[in-house]
């Protein structure tokens, strides 16, 4: 057990290492440099070179990487040369927004998709099921950048229910304002997820419904809904959990479209601004962070299998 955990952690470390190397490699190929960004339009090549040297950006890429890595393992992700903000601070400031957004979006999509999938599976192949499936196809083709403006147009401009843009913090603005500012972005993200989740859960539910134990539970006289909830849902949720894990990982780094649209101070915006200003230090920090989150989430997903399926639990002992 200990060994297998150690192996997993080791693997994950290698994954994270590969990811950061790829990030450095990629960005080192991009034209422009942080120094040029700082010095701007009137920069002379000499000034750029001097600033690069003072930032340590004139060294070979691998050397920069190793230095960075050395600091990173001690928890020091460096300071952005562009904003002069420590990367860790920048990350921590953005994290709550992105996490709230991602979690809220996933909650919405899970709740909606589970309900829809239960309905679809229960009344499989009926008009209801077909209608829901068609609806999920519609959702699948509505990307966030179009869902966002639509939501804004109807819910914010026409109805005035939610603020058009901006982020309200729980601490200062209160939970209600916070949720109001998060709800439309979260919904915009969740639409596609709803479709994907519905799809996968529906087919798993249907195959679980064919299992003998479902018939056995019905034969005990348990009602349809009881059986759906108590007996069918849990064994059908493996693929869903996997998908949720992967998507949560991806959303942590990937809510940029709605963050831009709704001007939310999340990781996505930080990513965009860091990349467009060639802030390699910040990008590295974000990449490491997201990769670690991803890896950890995947481990959690694996752990959740244990909880979901006692058979796995036994095997792991």
């Amino acid at each position: 057990m200990v060994l297998s955990i150690a192996r997993r952690v080791g693997r994950s470390a290698v994954v994270v290492l590969l990811v950061t190397m790829a990030a450095v490699g990629l960005l080192s190929l991009a034209p422009g440099s942080a120094a040029a960004v700082i010095l701007g339009e009137n920069a002379t090549p000499d000034a750029v070179a001097a600033l690069n040297a003072s930032l340590g950006l004139d060294l070979p890429v691998w050397q920069q990487y190793l230095t960075w890595l050395g600091n990173a393992v001690t928890g020091d992700l460096g300071t952005s040369p562009i904003t002069n903000e420590p990367v860790v601070d920048a990350l921590l400031a953005r994290l709550p927004v992105t996490v709230e957004l991602a979690v809220l979006a996933l909650l919405i999509s899970i709740v909606v998709s589970v309900i829809l999938a239960l309905i679809s599976a229960t009344w499989q192949d009926t008009v209801v099921d077909r209608a829901i499936t068609a609806f999920s196809s519609v959702l699948l083709s509505v990307p966030a950048f179009i869902a966002g403006p639509l939501l804004v147009y109807f819910l914010a401009l026409q109805l005035g229910w939610f603020p058009v843009s901006g982020w309200a913090r729980i601490g200062t603005d209160g939970l209600e304002a916070n949720l109001a500012s998060a709800i439309m972005p979260a919904v915009a993200i969740s639409l596609i997820e709803i479709a994907a989740f519905h799809r996968i859960l529906r087919s798993d539910l249907i195959s679980t419904l064919r299992e003998d134990f479902v018939g056995a539970a019905r034969a005990k006289g348990m009602s349809r809904f009881y059986v759906m909830f108590r007996h069918v849902l849990r064994p059908s949720s493996f693929s869903l959990i996997t998908l949720v894990g992967i998507n949560l990982g991806r959303l942590i780094g990937g809510t940029v479209v709605v963050e831009t649209l709704f001007s939310l101070p999340g990781l996505g915006q930080l990513v965009v601004s860091s990349i467009t200003s060639r802030d390699v230090i910040s990008v590295q920090g974000i990449v490491v962070f997201i990769a670690v989150v991803y890896v950890v989430l995947n481990m959690l997903v694996d752990l959740s299998y244990n909880w979901l399926d006692p058979r796995v639990r036994k095997a792991a002992v």
Partner: protein
């Protein structure tokens, strides 16, 4: 009054190719406390019949006829009332105990949920009863077992748990659909003995379904033989096995090697295979494989004929009855 009376039961299952005529016009009755064995090859419609009686047919299926249980036609019962019958009056034990227990729910819940619903008893009462039931079906260490998940039990234990679940609300009728197919012979033996014992001691009516003739032979009062969705023969177990009249039953008995079969001697064959269940032959469905078939077998086809005090057969050219078994053959 019989416990269960099935009249003209048809259960068709819709597939892309058309309706599978899985059970096609089956009638029989089952007395109180009686054990009926149902045998037949794989795909002959045994399970579908059991499910049709329960009302648990899969999606896209149709069912007609009558299933009269305790004076009520189960097929026309509203769903809510049917749920009251399930588990409480009719219980079912399925083929594969590994698959008919929910792998992610503890034994305790699976065992008590039915009791709590039907008997309206509290969790602790249900638990008490569950312990008693487990002891009754011969599960060692019931306390521990309640905490287990199904995969932590052996196959025989799982099947005992299934039986305990079926018995939980003291049903009047127990339908066991191939309850031992997935088990080893020695364990199968234990389960069969257990079922027979329960049926005897509690006076429960029972339908025991199996494709293995031998399983049914010693453990039922009456036996029905199904072929391609139709009832070929039904009668007292002894009569069916000792003096099979339907040509199919006869052939089936001949094809199974027994434990005292002479080695290296060829087995008797039934040529051909089961007909397509979507468009089975008209008349006698066994006719295409039957050596004695004549055109009369397909048109008008056989009718159910009584060949003994408790022995009906649907065959145009029944096998001659051995001298001692008696019963007249009325051939049409």
């Amino acid at each position: 009054m019989p416990a269960l009376e099935v009249r003209g039961l048809k259960a068709f299952i819709g597939t892309a190719r058309g309706a599978v005529r899985a059970v096609d016009d089956v009638s029989f009755s089952l007395g109180r406390g009686e054990a009926l064995g149902v045998v037949g090859e794989s795909g002959s419609g045994k399970s579908v019949m059991a499910k049709a009686i329960m009302g648990l047919l899969p999606h896209r299926s149709g069912c007609s006829g009558e299933v009269v249980f305790e004076g009520r036609d189960l097929l026309t019962l509203p769903p809510k009332e049917r749920e009251q019958v399930w588990g409480k009056q009719i219980a079912m034990v399925f083929q594969d105990p590994g698959r008919s227990l929910n792998p992610v729910v503890r034994v305790e819940r699976q065992l008590t949920e039915g009791m709590r619903k039907h008997l309206g008893i509290s969790g602790s009462e249900a638990r008490e009863r569950a312990l008693g039931l487990l002891a009754e079906v011969g599960v060692p260490d019931p306390e521990e077992r309640l905490r287990n998940y199904p995969h932590e039990l052996s196959g025989g234990m799982r099947q005992r748990v299934m039986i305990a679940i079926a018995l939980a609300c003291e049903p009047d009728l127990l339908i066991a659909d191939e309850p031992t197919t997935a088990l080893d012979v020695t364990v199968q033996r234990q389960i069969l003995d257990l079922l027979r014992g329960i049926q005897r001691s509690r006076g429960t009516s029972m339908i025991l379904i199996s494709h293995d003739l031998a399983v049914v032979a010693g453990r039922t009062d009456r036996t029905a033989v199904m072929y391609a969705g139709k009832l070929a023969e039904i009668g007292a177990t002894r009569q069916v096995f000792e003096a099979p009249r339907h040509r199919y039953t006869h052939a089936l008995l001949g094809a199974a090697p027994t434990i005292d079969h002479e080695r290296h001697t060829p087995l008797r064959l039934i040529p051909g295979s089961l007909p397509d269940p979507v468009s089975p032959p008209s008349g006698c469905r066994f006719a295409p494989r039957c050596g004695a078939a004549t055109t009369g077998c397909t048109d008008p086809g056989p009718v159910v004929t009584s060949v003994g005090s408790d022995h009906d057969v649907a065959c145009c050219h029944p096998v001659a009855a051995p001298a001692h078994s008696g019963g007249d053959l009325v051939d049409r």
